[in-house]
Amino acid sequence: MKDFWPYLLILAGSTYLVRAIPFAALQKKITNRFVRSFLYFIPFSVLAAMTLPGALYATGHVLAAATGLLAGSFFALKGRGLTFVASISCVAAFAVQYLLNATA
C-alpha cells in the first residue's frame, strides 16, 4: 500500500482534531439556527450517502445485499439495537447468497 503513512496521518489526525478541538477549546454555544440545523442533519446525510448505493455492492450479489439492508431496516424500525441490526443484515445477506449459489 503506497503512501500509507501520510494517509494515516491525515486520516487519524483530522478525525482527532475534529473531535477534540470543539470539546477542549470552544465552550460557546452555536446560536445560528441555520448552522445548528445543518449540523443536526449532517450525520444522517453522510451515513445515508455512504450506505447507498455502495452497500449494494458490498457482497457478492446485489440481491443479497439489498435483502440484508431491508432486513436490517425492518428490525431497526422495530427498535432493535446496533448489534442485532448489524448481525441480521449479515445473516439475511448470507442466506440469500447461499440460495442463489445453490440454484445457480
Binding site: I10, T15, S45, L47, A48, L52, P53, G54, L69, T83
Partner: protein, 234 residues
C-alpha cells in the same frame, strides 16, 4: 471509581456492537490490499466507522491527500457538533488536558450514551470509552487475520455489518422525524446520481459522498430549520 465502573458497564453493549462491525472493517481493509497490522493501526488511531471506510477507499489510489482531507472533514464534522454539545454537559472538573485526551473517543454511540447523563464526569466518560475501543481494535485485528481464513461467502456477508450499523443509526431517527428521512433519502439518491451517471462517476468517492451529504444537509437546514425545542434532541 464508582463512576468509572458505571461507565465501563454502559460501554459493554457498544463494545460488542463495535466488535462485529470492526470485524467487517478488518476483512474489507485486507480485501482491498492492506495488511492486518495496517488495518489494526487505522482502527487504533482513528476509531470511526464511516471515516475509515471512506478512508481505505481513498487510500486505494496514491497521492489523493486533498480528497482524503475533504472527505474526512465532511464525514466527521458531526463529531464537532457532538463535542460542542457534550462540552455543555460536563462536570466542572472535566476540562483541560482531560478533554484533549478523552475527546479522541467521541464516537456516535459513546456520545449518545454520554449525552443521556445529567452531568458527564471524567471517570464516567473514561470508563465508557474502554469497551468500545477494545471492541473496535480487537474486532479489526480478528477480521484482518481471519478474513483470509473464512470462506468467501461468509466474508461477503460480513462486509454488510458496517452498513447494518449505519442503518441502525439512521432508521430509528428517520422514523421519528420526516425531515431526517427526507434528508437521508435525498443524500442517498444524489449519491446514486454520482455513482451511475458516466461523467460524474469519475469523481473520487470521498468527494462525491461529501458533496452529496453537504447538499442534502444544506437543503435540510433551509427547508426544515430546527425549532428551539428540537435543538436538545440534536
Amino acid at each position: 471509581m464508582h463512576s468509572f465502573l458505571r461507565g465501563l458497564r454502559a460501554g459493554v453493549p457498544i463494545g460488542l456492537g463495535y466488535l462485529s462491525v470492526s470485524f467487517s472493517f478488518g476483512i474489507m481493509a485486507v480485501a482491498s490490499g492492506f495488511t492486518w497490522w495496517q488495518a489494526l493501526l487505522i482502527s487504533a488511531t482513528t476509531l470511526t466507522s464511516a471515516g475509515q471506510l471512506a478512508g481505505i477507499g481513498v487510500m486505494a489510489v496514491p497521492g489523493q491527500y486533498v480528497s482524503m482531507l475533504i472527505s474526512q472533514l465532511t464525514i466527521n464534522i458531526r463529531y464537532s457538533f457532538m463535542s460542542l454539545s457534550l462540552a455543555q454537559k460536563t462536570a466542572p472538573s472535566f476540562r483541560g488536558i482531560k478533554r484533549w485526551l478523552l475527546g479522541f473517543f467521541m464516537t456516535d454511540e459513546i456520545f449518545a450514551v454520554a449525552s443521556a447523563q445529567e452531568q458527564v464526569h471524567t471517570a464516567f466518560f473514561g470508563g465508557l470509552s474502554v469497551a468500545p475501543y477494545v471492541g473496535w481494535t480487537v474486532g479489526t485485528l480478528l477480521g484482518g487475520l481471519l478474513g483470509n481464513v473464512l470462506p468467501q461467502s461468509v466474508m461477503d456477508a460480513l462486509c454488510l455489518a458496517m452498513y447494518g450499523m449505519f442503518v441502525a443509526i439512521i432508521v430509528p431517527r428517520a422514523k421519528g422525524s420526516k425531515a431526517v428521512a427526507i434528508v437521508a433519502a435525498g443524500a442517498a439518491a444524489l449519491h446514486g446520481v454520482f455513482y451511475y451517471v458516466p461523467l460524474l462517476k469519475a469523481i473520487p468517492s470521498g468527494i462525491a459522498i461529501s458533496l452529496c451529504a453537504i447538499a442534502a444537509a444544506v437543503a435540510g437546514a433551509y427547508f426544515f430549520p430546527l425549532r428551539e425545542e428540537q435543538e436538545d434532541a440534536a
